[in-house]
Every structure is written in C-alpha cells, then in structure tokens.
C-alpha cells in the first residue's frame, strides 16, 4: 500500500529540485556567456522554466486549494510576462547599439532593419533579386 501523502510530497520535492537546477544553470549561463543576447537566451529560458517547476511543486504539494490555484495563476503570469520582458530588453539593447559577441556570424534583425528603413525601393528590389 502506497502512502499517498508521502508520494505526493516526494513528487513535489523532485519538481522543486528540478526547478532549482534549471534556475542555477540559467544563472551560471548569465554569468558565463559572452554578450547580452546570449545571456538573455540562457537566463530567460532556464529561469522561466525553473520558476515554472518550483510553482508546479507548490501545486503538487498542496493540491488545488487556495494556494494551488494561486500558484497556477502565478505560473500563467510568469509564462506570459517573462518572455515578453526578455523580448523587449533584447529589442531595446539592439536599438541602443549593444554590440554582438566577436564570434557572431549573423544579425538578422539588423538586415531586416536595413531592408525596411534604408532606401525603401532599392532594398526591396535587392531583397527580391537575391533569393
């Protein structure tokens, strides 16, 4: 006979430990990676998923009572707002002219911006001419 309460607690702790692991990996990436875009990439994805799992641990631990529903709402908020904020910061950093790391080979956002802003018709023709 499985003790159901204990199993649930164990599952909650496993979820929270996984979430903490993701948080730590994200923060190590934030410190170690070379430029702001890479740091955003590592940090935002890992920390969002880590917080997601920590909150899911709360849901599993308490079930769907007042705390569980609030944790679910919190998951929804974090999952919606964190990528949006990261996108806004990345766009702002690019527009503020933060340079890419030295090993970078491609900057699609700048290319698109040149095609959009610079000498409209010429750029459109060039874009159409080169597949």
């Amino acid at each position: 006979m499985i003790d159901f309460a204990d199993t649930r607690q164990l599952a909650a702790y496993v979820l929270m430990a996984l979430g903490l692991a993701f948080d730590l990996v994200g923060c190590i990436g934030l410190v170690r990676l070379p430029d702001v875009y890479n740091r955003l990439q590592a940090g935002t994805k890992c920390v969002t998923l880590g917080t997601f799992l920590l909150l899911l641990g709360v849901v599993v631990r308490f079930g769907l009572n007042a705390m569980g529903w609030k944790a679910l709402l919190c998951i929804w908020f974090v999952a919606m707002t964190s990528p949006t904020a990261a996108h806004a910061i990345a766009r702002a950093a690019h527009r503020a002219g933060v340079p890419l790391a030295t090993g970078s080979v491609l900057d699609r956002y700048r290319e698109d911006g040149e095609a959009r802003d610079g000498a409209g018709e010429d750029a459109a023709v060039r874009r159409g001419a080169t597949p």
Binding site: D23, G26, L30, G43, T51, C74, F77, T84, A93, R95
Partner: protein, 87 residues
C-alpha cells in the same frame, strides 16, 4: 538542514550570481537582464516560502511580484531604447 532549506540556499546562490552579473555587466542592458531574472527568481523564492510556512500570503506576494517585475523590465527596456515613459 532540511531539504527545503537546501533548496532556499541554492536559490540564494542563483540570486547571488544574478547580482554578480548586475554588478559586473559591461553594458546597461546586462544589468537590465540580471534585474529581470532576479524578479523571476524571487517569485520562485516565494513559492518555497509558501511550502515552508504553509501560508497563503506568500503566494499573493509572488503574484504581485511577477507582475511588478514585468512592468519594471518594460520600463527599463524603454529607458534603454532612449524613449520617454509616456511615449
């Protein structure tokens, strides 16, 4: 040291790494990224506090914190871009 305290210590370590990046950050955008992540980490810390105390209050703090961190990050991004806040 209970398992929960161990988890909290790990989260404090992660927050310390974030602060290290905010201190170090060569550009202002790096600091903005670090502060944004710190807000999300604190929501996770509120979740751990909820489990430890069994109180509803901390989850409410986490809810408010997640939304305020979002608004703060958007304001920082707008400031980085050099636009006014009422733009």
């Amino acid at each position: 040291m209970s398992a929960l305290e161990l988890l909290m210590a790990g989260l404090v370590l992660a927050a310390g790494l974030c602060l290290w990046r905010a201190w170090l950050g060569p550009t202002a955008a790096d600091c903005a990224v670090a502060v944004d992540l710190l807000g999300v980490l604190m929501v996770g810390f509120c979740a751990l506090l909820t489990v430890q105390t069994g109180k509803d209050l901390y989850m409410v703090v986490g809810l408010a914190w997640s939304l305020l961190a979002f608004v703060g990050s958007l304001a920082l991004a707008k400031h980085l871009e050099g636009r006014r806040f009422d733009d």
